[in-house]
Symmetry: C4
Subunit: 205 residues, 4 copies
Amino acid sequence: MAESNVNSRLEAFCDGVFAIALTLLIIDIKIPASETINTTNDLWLALQHLFPSVFAFLLTFIIIFISWVNHHGTLKLINKSSPAFIYANGFLLLTIVVLPFPTALLSEYLFTDHAAPAVVLYAAINVLNAIAWILLFRAALKPNPLTKNEKATLTARAGQRNGYWALAIYTLCAILAFWFPQAVAFLLGAIWIIWLIYGISVKAE
Amino acid sequence: MAESNVNSRLEAFCDGVFAIALTLLIIDIKIPASETINTTNDLWLALQHLFPSVFAFLLTFIIIFISWVNHHGTLKLINKSSPAFIYANGFLLLTIVVLPFPTALLSEYLFTDHAAPAVVLYAAINVLNAIAWILLFRAALKPNPLTKNEKATLTARAGQRNGYWALAIYTLCAILAFWFPQAVAFLLGAIWIIWLIYGISVKAE
Amino acid sequence: MAESNVNSRLEAFCDGVFAIALTLLIIDIKIPASETINTTNDLWLALQHLFPSVFAFLLTFIIIFISWVNHHGTLKLINKSSPAFIYANGFLLLTIVVLPFPTALLSEYLFTDHAAPAVVLYAAINVLNAIAWILLFRAALKPNPLTKNEKATLTARAGQRNGYWALAIYTLCAILAFWFPQAVAFLLGAIWIIWLIYGISVKAE
Amino acid sequence: MAESNVNSRLEAFCDGVFAIALTLLIIDIKIPASETINTTNDLWLALQHLFPSVFAFLLTFIIIFISWVNHHGTLKLINKSSPAFIYANGFLLLTIVVLPFPTALLSEYLFTDHAAPAVVLYAAINVLNAIAWILLFRAALKPNPLTKNEKATLTARAGQRNGYWALAIYTLCAILAFWFPQAVAFLLGAIWIIWLIYGISVKAE
């Protein structure tokens, strides 16, 4: 492996996991069973009833894609590796890989009276994801910084601070979701759209 | 990451998504249930009834493979990156990743009396795909061109114009599919075969 | 993209497809439903009844892995590209990607009285695979050879000849499978084990 | 392909397989069917009943991730290739790719009276995995060492010895699992956590 990029295989492995997690989401959206469809109108209605699935799919798609963009940006700051950094990446991948489960749960239960467990779990995975980012930046910063240069160190520190903010916000969401699941679900959607816009603007600097 | 190819990780990620979307298609073609098969002839007949599934599978396979070839050709024109370009790629991937759903819908409903919603949705995804290509070329061309040289800029502009043509044609298909779903489905098949031949001849120049 | 390896993205894409096709095979082996299991012995018996699934899984795993090894070996001979070569690779990937379907069919029907369609289809996919290899070598050899040097050209020609032999053998298998499905299934298994040994010995030269 | 890294495509292919195997695990954790859920409390209870699935998922996730880390570390020792080495990698991938099946079996049967077959099978796959690592190190060490230098040879020999230890331990686990399945399942969990800690400490040297 070229010494110029010690993390190229880690990148390739993570890219694979992100790409598969993104692509697998669609297989949980099932087509309407043909036995229940007697007219063309039935099929249009059945497709409309997939709205919660589409909402959950798009939300998780955005989360995974932004996570990949951030991962891509983060690894550009790094030119060394360590076991702690590799295992922090493994934990981050764990929080990505599990997403199809809470996504399917959200699709099924968001617009029912029992939405709370689905939204709490979904927010809890976001909490774990924020923890994984904090651990990843921590492993990149100490004991020996893996960052390329001083500027990269500052960017990594800013990323770690964002991680703590995310941790606080998602924990609050997870708690509020016990009482206001639908509101929290849409709040999570709004937060990720803000992260999307923020991500674009920060990286354009 | 080597500065000589700033998009190598974006390429790797997109390759992963295209490859997985291509490979996942087959899992929606289910084998005939053994309870319904009493003679060898039953099994031959059951396999023949998979024809709509095979048609939809091949159409989507061709779409995804050509999209990958075009993506491969497009990224060869580019040697810089921007947030808008990365997110335009994300939107393109979204329009690829969702394809298994309309493909399965087409398999199930193409030769029924309720084919319209399936074909409209399939054409609508093609519309979104055309929009994604337009956005991707737009992000590659301005405000600061990401293209390698003047020749690459001209090729990207031609690609953008093709995107507008595709947008017009697929929008028309989506509208016509409300009344003539089967005809539009075969028209879409014919269009993609033309894109296939066009793609080969253009790239051979 | 580095000009030193014009096919690196094609390789990455094909690697992805081979890797996914290989890994998806296992999801067609379903665990025994817990409702049918009353004693530990029931579970042991249920696992034994998975033998046809395991046979089909291993056969397809070997086919895909050997195809990847051969693809890897073939692309080492090549240092140029052409549209025909890219599309020949696409057709090869098609014959790999569809394999989970005949594999599942073989699992379900190999040891029933209606094995013929399953084995005929499985052999037919092997026929298509042989045709794909012939097209791929043909695209590599003419009109302008894409091969690195004279020695690579000779190896590619030998590969093409092997493709014609494979085409003849699998066509014969597909025809014989109408009358002797089980025998042909085991013959196919034996052929691929020979290809395995042959592949090792040839490449070790 | 750059001569500086003859194994780059093997690495990419293996990365793909590891990444997909890791990501596919989640699709075997099914969400509770909405027909069985009448109150929010029902859904909380149904999620709690997923504990065996989560245990099996996490165990297999850890196994696959550590295997990838070890594979990554092993291929850094190597700068040549051989057919035996490639096919040993293929066998290793086989033992990774099959993991979703014993994982699903463990999820379903771990806390029933018929856990023995599930745990025996799970341990048996670990036995095969240990054998694959021994074959891989053997292929790397002889007849002609593929290792970079003397230090890499020593590390590879240590890896091979670990493989023999793993073989002995998992064989014992597989045998004991006939009588004490639950205890062995938790022992396997404990062993992999030890491997995790060992892997970090060794690589940090």
